[in-house]
Amino acid sequence: MKQNLLALIAGLLFGLGLCVSEMASPGKVLNFLDVAGNWDPSLMLVMGGALAVTIVAFRLILKRQTPLFSADFKLPDGSNVDKRLLLGATLFGIGWGLIGYCPGPVITALGFGLTYPVFAFVAMVAGFMVHRLIFERNP
């Protein structure tokens, strides 16, 4: 119960951050990626602002044995760079460069009452599902 409420609050803050920074605007994102055109470097500062918080806070938090509301930290073991990581990140980057939406903004934009985010959401979830069908089938 506490964990679900905390997740709701974290989701609200995350979505607010995407709105305030205009990361939820695909045109803004595409102008950020357009270094050869009318470049808008703003979104570099979104990641900078977020990292300024997480790099410091995560160090302190991960010194703890356990989180406050649950038994353990669930973290991926993040060492090996493999082909799947490189190919997946490339495909994601191509999609991002085509539409200006990454997953967070697609979700928050569902609240805007517009049609495009709904289409993007459905196609993105279809991408999750096709990946699962091909690569995550249980024996």
Binding site: A10, S21, L33, T66, F69, V81, A89, G97
Partner: protein, 143 residues
């Protein structure tokens, strides 16, 4: 550079960082949005509700900001519908294959100084830059 908005970008980014910090400190989870969302469909029943709550919070923020706050977000029709569908499919497929997106790798993974995430972030940023360059300056497609 007339569209440069450094202050709102930094404030928005800090809010995203705060969200990721709370989720890790209290729940022990990383705020990787593609993993949280896809997990609603694939994780066991007991691991679904918090994910749904996070997603509901994200959508609620969008709704509140658009209709009760400054708002101003419009349909981005410069991208054609077929391109939107193909691009979003690649975003979904690619983030699962690569194990994360802008938040999971970019904000949380780099926040943990993970070599995997630092690599992934450079790769998807690079692919995004090249894609926009090809679309706008080679093919001349409006977007």
């Amino acid at each position: 550079m007339e569209n440069f908005t450094p202050v709102s970008a930094l404030i928005g980014g800090a809010l995203i960082g705060l969200s990721a910090t709370l989720l890790l400190l209290f729940n022990g989870r990383l705020a990787g949005v593609s993993g949280i969302l896809s997990g609603i469909f694939v994780q066991p029943a007991g691991d679904r509700l918090w994910r749904l709550m996070f997603v509901v919070g994200m959508i609620a923020s969008g709704f509140l900001y658009q209709f009760f706050g400054p708002g101003g977000f419009e349909n981005y029709t410069d991208v054609s519908l077929p391109v939107l569908l193909v691009g979003a499919f690649l975003v979904g497929f690619g983030t699962r294959m690569g194990g994360g997106c802008t938040s999971g790798h970019g904000v949380c993974g780099i926040g943990r100084i993970s070599p995997r995430s630092i690599t992934a972030t450079f790769v998807f940023m690079g692919a995004g830059l090249v894609t926009v360059y090809v679309m706008r300056h080679v093919l001349g497609v409006a977007q």
